[in-house]
């Protein structure tokens, strides 16, 4: 490939300075004339019938402009795929934290005061919190009748499975089978079989910006919405459907997003905010507190994962049966798909000819689960990679050796039959092992553990971008996709600058509202560098073609004799025409700025994936159980790295999120309620908790993004919990089957182990 000028440079985030200087105005910062503040009264019960609601005293409070209950709203359920969630609870509450009454007032304090004057009488109903229990015949039903709930068809970009929506199993939202090969024949070939079950609690995305919404209704009924949502066009469609109006009656305006990690894809408070604005006749803003976020956000699905694996006499995997049970909480509304699609990773990046994966999403009376960075994958990979080590241990094999015998290599079909080009799985694992000094001697109580994962670049939904050039030749790229902090604007800026051979800073990137930008699915699923990148390439191509025609006319040369080169046009006579000169000449003659829109739809399915191998090195204090993560090596099979700075930011940010998932983060649910409802009690890792981090990039040239790039956003967070748990076992011989790996759990397990070995010694003597 020719050497690149802008692409490949460590360019800082284009929007970075405005964020770090406090100039960025997030949704929560928006002020409008007459703005009111909305707050919701939430259910204290996990499952109860609403007997009565008395809002009279709240309505009587000075400064209160609207008080609404579910019964006053149209009976229209909302959601991203399944439409199963009422805007405010109607008749029944199904989780602690469910919105019951909404208030809009002149200040947040008045709104809070009004909430204290609302009396709700509840009658408690039997509740179920565990997804496996919820599937039993005698379990309480979270939803008495799901027959009226609607949903669109299952989209075709997801891995094809046998999809059963609302099957005849108590509380089950979806049951999906992914199969390849012949599972029974596979187990028949097995010399040994292993079955293990793992449990993963819910975790919160931990973004800094809590969900916020602002709604302003214009006199003609047009609705302006500002919302912490990374997919504005999708949000517009869902919002319009929730209101029962046409999409063009809604404009989703832009505001920076203060962190997403998968959690900013829903309408959250948007619809209730609209109803408050409609009732009050004034614009309304709602900002969730972090307590509300932890109590009633849309955390990662908790899961119970059972894996059964057959291995032949040579330590090669011949069959894998997985049963994955995810609790989706009280509503399924917060996920964009019918199932948890990370489930396809239940076989891992290993060669196994016979696979059957059965996935359940199950209603429980707990906080509704949503999407989080690589949805489903960290839960499953914790199981898969712990299971790999457990098998290796039983077989008397080194965990690295066992994996090397089974990793996919060039030419292999993936476990569910996908045919990947340029498989770099083994190379990535070997690179990680080399960097982490696998096999090197360790001091006492030190251990190393491996975790592996693979993920293909996001390739769904159309993307588009509009590149415009103004009279003064300034270039502006407008995208409809939000930059959630990943650096997507910067990547797009680099693509334009590269293609036009102009300095980076001469290209502005802006996000357009849904009224001004071309339609775009938005951020999510590791898709933007690929999809928006290709759409931007297409826009640049159109601009070049359009301007070449104008230049040819101006230079009185046939188009085919004019070429674009670094900010100017040159014809075969050696005549030069600088872009500013051309644009000045066009002023007055053409409608400026000139706009060129590029569109892109991916070819399906993807023919490449990316592998990730991670090795954790821990030290365990046997007297306390404390696990100190000393070093984390993360190796990635990458395509062309378009921006090493933002790429590394994704690698490191993800790895640290994985460290939190491994060691400290979990929503502690008691009697159905999240109890650690402050960031003082829900422990996100801080800068002081970061181990030595080593990144190894295994370069490949097969990516679908511009310049053969791949995706990196949802890779490094996934396998860390498994790597840490495996390292703890290597260090002190204690195996944890549930997350997080806390000191107390390790301590307790160590004491049990000591007690067991004492008993055995006594038995032997």
């Amino acid at each position: 490939m020719a050497s690149l000028a802008s692409v490949g440079q460590p360019a800082g985030h284009v929007e970075g300075p405005s964020k770090v200087t406090g100039q960025a105005r997030y949704t929560a910062d928006i002020r409008l004339p007459g703005l009111l503040y909305g707050k919701c009264l939430r259910s204290p019960f996990p499952h109860a019938r609403i007997v009565s609601i008395d809002t009279s005293q709240a309505k009587a409070l000075a400064g209160v402009h609207a008080v609404i209950t579910g019964a006053e709203l149209p009976d229209r359920r909302i959601g991203r795929f399944f439409l199963d969630k009422p805007v405010l609870a109607r008749d029944v509450v199904r989780f602690v934290g469910e919105k019951v009454v909404a208030v809009a007032a002149e200040s947040m304090d008045i709104a809070e005061e009004a909430l204290t004057r609302i009396a709700v009488e509840y009658e408690a109903l039997p509740a179920v919190f565990d997804p496996v229990e919820a599937m039993q015949e005698d379990a309480p039903r979270v939803h008495a009748d799901t027959s009226t709930y609607t949903h669109p068809p299952v989209p075709d970009f997801v891995h094809p499975g046998d999809d059963r929506l609302y099957p005849d199993i108590p509380n089950v939202v979806s049951q999906v089978f992914y199969t390849h090969g012949d599972i029974e024949a596979g187990f028949a070939q097995a010399a040994r079989e292993f079955t293990h079950t793992f449990t993963i609690p819910p975790v919160h995305q931990g973004y800094i910006e809590p969900h916020a919404s602002v709604v302003q209704i214009e006199p003609d009924g047009k609705v302006n919405l500002w919302i912490s949502n990374k997919t504005p066009f999708v949000a517009r469609a869902q919002f319009a459907a929730a209101l029962g109006v046409a999409e063009d009656r809604v404009c989703v305006n832009t505001a920076p997003i203060g962190g997403d990690f998968g959690g900013k894809g829903s309408l959250m408070d948007g619809v209730v905010c609209y109803h408050l604005a409609a009732a009050a006749g004034r614009p309304v803003k709602m900002v969730m507190s972090y307590t509300e976020e932890l109590l009633a956000g849309n955390p990662r699905h908790p899961a119970v994962i059972t894996l059964r694996t057959g291995v032949d006499a040579n330590g090669r995997i011949v069959a894998r049966k997985a049963r994955l049970v995810f609790s989706c909480g009280a509503y399924s509304a917060f996920t964009p798909l019918h199932t948890v699609h990370g489930s396809v990773h239940a076989a891992g990046p290993y060669r196994m000819p016979n696979v059957e994966i059965e996935v359940f999403r199950v209603y429980t009376n707990t906080v509704p689960a949503g999407h989080m960075r690589a949805p489903g994958a960290p839960q499953i990979v914790f199981g898969v990679e712990s299971h790999m080590d457990l098998i290796a241990q039983e077989l008397g094999l080194d965990p690295l050796e066992f994996r090397l015998r089974n990793t996919l290599i060039e030419g292999d079909a993936a476990p569910l039959g996908e045919k990947w080009k340029k498989i770099r799985c083994k190379e990535t694992l070997e690179a990680a092992a080399k960097e982490a000094k696998w096999g090197a001697e360790k001091t006492a109580n030190r251990g190393r553990g491996i975790g592996m994962y693979d993920r293909e670049p996001g390739a769904f939904g159309p993307s588009s971008a509009t590149l415009s050039i103004a009279a003064d030749a300034t270039l502006t790229l407008m995208t409809g996709a939000a930059d959630t902090g990943t650096g997507s604007y910067t990547i797009l800026q680099q693509v334009v600058a590269e293609e036009l051979q102009v300095p980076l800073e001469s290209v502005r990137v802006v996000q357009g509202s849904t009224d001004s930008a071309p339609w775009e699915v938005g951020a999510g699923g590791s898709r933007l560098t690929h999809m928006a990148g290709q759409a931007t390439l297409a826009a640049v191509q159109r601009l070049k073609e359009g301007l070449t025609a104008f230049a040819a006319r101006h230079m009185e040369t046939p188009s085919e004799q004019v070429a674009y080169r670094a900010g100017e046009f040159v014809n075969t006579n050696g005549q030069h025409l600088a872009l500013p000169t051309l644009m000045a000449a066009l002023a007055g003659r053409e409608e400026l700025p000139l706009r060129y829109t590029g569109e892109y739809v991916a070819e399906d399915p993807m023919d490449v994936t990316s592998f990730c191998a991670q090795i954790a090195e821990v030290e365990v204090d046997p007297a306390t159980g404390q696990v100190t993560l000393q070093k984390l090596t993360t190796a990635h099979d990458v395509g062309t790295v378009l921006n090493p700075l933002t790429h590394q930011g994704q690698v490191e940010g993800g790895a640290i999120q994985g460290v939190g998932h491994a060691l400290t983060e979990h929503l502690i649910v008691q009697d159905g309620a999240v109890t650690n409802v402050h960031l003082g009690d829900y422990k996100l890792p801080t800068s002081m908790d970061i181990p030595e981090l080593k990144t190894v990039l295994v370069e490949s040239d097969a990516g679908p993004a511009p310049y053969a790039g791949k995706a990196i956003g949802e890779h490094s967070n996934v396998a860390v919990p498994a790597a840490v748990a495996n390292a703890v076992f290597d260090a002190v011989g204690v195996r944890l089957m549930d997350l997080p790996v806390t000191a107390e759990k390790v301590y307790t397990a160590l004491r049990e182990k000591t007690a067991r070995s004492r008993t055995m010694r006594r038995g032997n003597s």
Binding site: L41, P44, E112, L115, T116, R117, T291, D671, V677, H678
Partner: protein, 149 residues
């Protein structure tokens, strides 16, 4: 949140039973409780003050007797109380069981289930649990003390 307490009261079972089902009298043994009045059959209203450090709660609420089963010496009561200023409250269900130990010696067992509502649920749950646990323990002690004196 669930709590279990028991204490031994130096009095015959029937005497203790009669004392406990006289709600205004019994309620005085709950630390911080005042102004308990009957509002209907087996229905009472009252107030309870709880302080910990700078936090001072005044819970105004209602108490009702759900079950009086003298055959098994078992009583179940339910209370709902709110602090309107704070915007939170508690729902409590308590089951009292009396077991005769010797002639003038009865064991009182209290099983309590409490649910925190609103803002109260946002304060550190472990500390509230400890506080609630202490209140029930002190109630048991006060009942015992009532008959010792």
């Amino acid at each position: 949140m669930n709590f279990e307490h028991s204490c031994t009261v130096p009095v015959a079972r029937e005497t203790l039973w009669n004392f406990l089902i006289d709600v205004p009298q019994m309620a005085i043994c709950v630390p911080g409780v005042s102004e308990v009045v009957a509002t209907g059959e087996d229905q009472y209203a009252g107030r309870m003050k709880i302080t910990f450090g700078p936090i001072r709660l005044t819970l105004q609420g209602e108490l009702s007797i759900q079950e009086l089963d003298q055959i098994n010496w078992r009583a179940v009561g339910r209370a709902e109380a709110n602090d309107r200023r704070v915007g939170g409250g508690v729902h409590i269900s308590a089951e009292l069981t009396l077991v005769e130990q010797e002639e003038a010696q009865t064991q009182l067992s209290i099983q309590t289930e409490a649910r925190l509502m609103g803002k109260l649920g946002e304060f550190g749950q472990p500390v509230i649990r400890k506080k609630a646990d202490r209140i029930v323990a002190e109630f048991a002690r006060n009942v015992a003390k009532h008959f010792k004196e």
